[in-house]
């Protein structure tokens, strides 16, 4: 909807309809990277950056495709841009911050298949956001993703010191925890209040 305020879009993407816990985007890294808080935090930052870059590029591409009425190429263009954006981030990080690059290691290329990034591009296209709204949306999505990831990492770090049944170790326990987190986040519904 074109009329939403930037603050509301940000809050909506970050918390009310959290990308991981409500929209189910970015589950693979969520399950895989959330074991330690430091890694989760770094991954989250990388994702925020890639989301911003992809969101802006997607807005530009969509504008271009709509002008020439070749919208059916949209998906292919988006995924190509996302893959390039990730390569770009990788190269920039290697050059400007080698320590961070080494810390993230294998996770950077994995961001390409992170459904959350493509999800941001697709959702902002469906909802026909303006340029500023796209920025607010992708920033909110990235922050929400980082939030969910770090929360989960905190929980799992605690869990390593607890006794849990053998059968539930690993993914099963993580999913149950995620379910509880998702349930908690449902409490944010209606946070926007009376919003026109």
């Amino acid at each position: 909807m074109a009329g939403e305020s930037l603050g509301f879009i940000f809050l909506n993407a970050a918390v009310i309809n959290n990308f991981v816990l409500a929209l189910f985007l970015g589950i693979c890294p969520f399950l895989g990277v959330s074991a330690k808080r430091a890694t989760a935090w770094n991954m989250g930052l990388a994702v925020i950056f890639v989301m911003l870059v992809s969101s802006v590029s997607a807005w530009g591409i969509n504008w271009l495709l709509t002008r020439f009425e070749i919208e059916f190429l949209r998906l292919i263009c988006y995924i190509a841009v996302i893959a390039s954006a990730v390569q770009l981030v990788e190269m920039m990080m290697k050059k400007f911050s080698p320590a961070l690059f080494r810390a993230l290691g294998i996770f950077l290329p994995l961001i390409t298949t992170n459904c959350a990034i493509l999800g941001v591009a697709l959702f902002q296209t469906f909802r026909e956001y303006s340029f500023l709204q796209c920025l607010a949306f992708s920033l909110g999505a990235g922050v929400g993703f980082t939030l969910a990831l770090t929360l989960m990492a905190g929980l799992r770090e605690r869990l390593e010191l607890s006794r849990v049944p053998d059968v539930s170790q690993g993914a099963a326990m993580t999913l149950m925890l995620a379910g509880l987190l998702s349930l908690a986040f449902m409490g944010f519904a209606g946070l926007g209040g009376q919003h026109a």
Binding site: I76, P109, G190, G192
Partner: protein
């Protein structure tokens, strides 16, 4: 992607085969996508037409044919196949004799969980809303989604008063949602107990839409009442 050491035994490929393969794949991909798009377009358009007419004929009682119009602040113009460039998309339904049975408009507002989209019908003869059809919503199942199915809630819209004020520039009484069981005026909506936010969203979207559209409809009623082909 990272290349392990073992693969360095393979010589690096020269540029031409890389470009050739990429070009071939891109051409093949483009061909397939265009083909699929071309073949499916008529089917998709037909599906969309069926979907909108199903909602339309349900919400405008008595309508059997439809014409589309574009409604802007100053005028109502007939619309062809394309979506309106500006303003709102107005659907006019005509009965078997060709007389205007009612008009329908879409309205949307933020509900509890996500945006709710509704198609509502307005009858110029009684100056009231005759019914609503929820097109899209993501409200809580069993609670908020009652706005689509609850018969008591839908009864609100069988004759929702939307008379214009004496100047003709807005509604005489704004549509509002009141607490469940306390409806006393024909322009009020009895909210669903336990789903206040969803009910208020419906009231808000109907109010916003009618405040904008009904004055224009009243001014250009003759345009709408002409069946296709001119003389009424």
């Amino acid at each position: 992607m990272t290349q392990p050491a073992a693969e360095q035994a393979v010589p690096s490929t020269p540029r031409i085969p890389m470009l050739r393969t990429l070009g071939l794949v891109a051409a093949l991909s483009g061909f397939l996508v265009v083909l699929a798009h071309h073949l499916s377009l008529p089917l998709i358009e037909e599906n969309k037409r069926i979907a909108i007419e199903r909602a339309l004929f349900k919400v405008i009682p008595g309508a059997v044919t439809r014409r589309d119009f574009q409604l802007t602040a100053d005028d109502i113009e007939p619309l062809g196949e394309a979506a309106p460039a500006q303003g709102m998309h107005l659907y006019a339904g005509y009965d078997a004799k060709g007389a205007l049975a009612g008009v329908a408009l879409e309205a949307a507002a933020q509900g509890y969980q996500d945006v709710i989209r509704v198609l509502y019908s307005y009858d110029p003869a009684c100056e009231c809303i005759r019914g609503i059809q929820v097109l899209k919503m993501a409200e809580t199942p069993g609670i908020g989604d009652k706005i689509a199915k609850d018969p008591d809630f839908l009864r609100n819209f069988e004759a929702l008063d939307t008379r214009l004020d004496p100047t003709g520039s807005g509604l005489a009484n704004a549509i509002i949602s009141v607490k469940h069981g306390s409806k006393s005026e024909p322009w009020q909506i009895d909210a669903i107990s336990g789903a206040t936010i969803s009910s208020k969203a419906v009231a808000r979207m109907l109010n916003d839409s009618t405040q904008q559209a009904l004055p224009v409809i009243a001014r250009h009623l003759d345009t709408l009442q002409q069946p296709a082909g001119g003389t009424p």
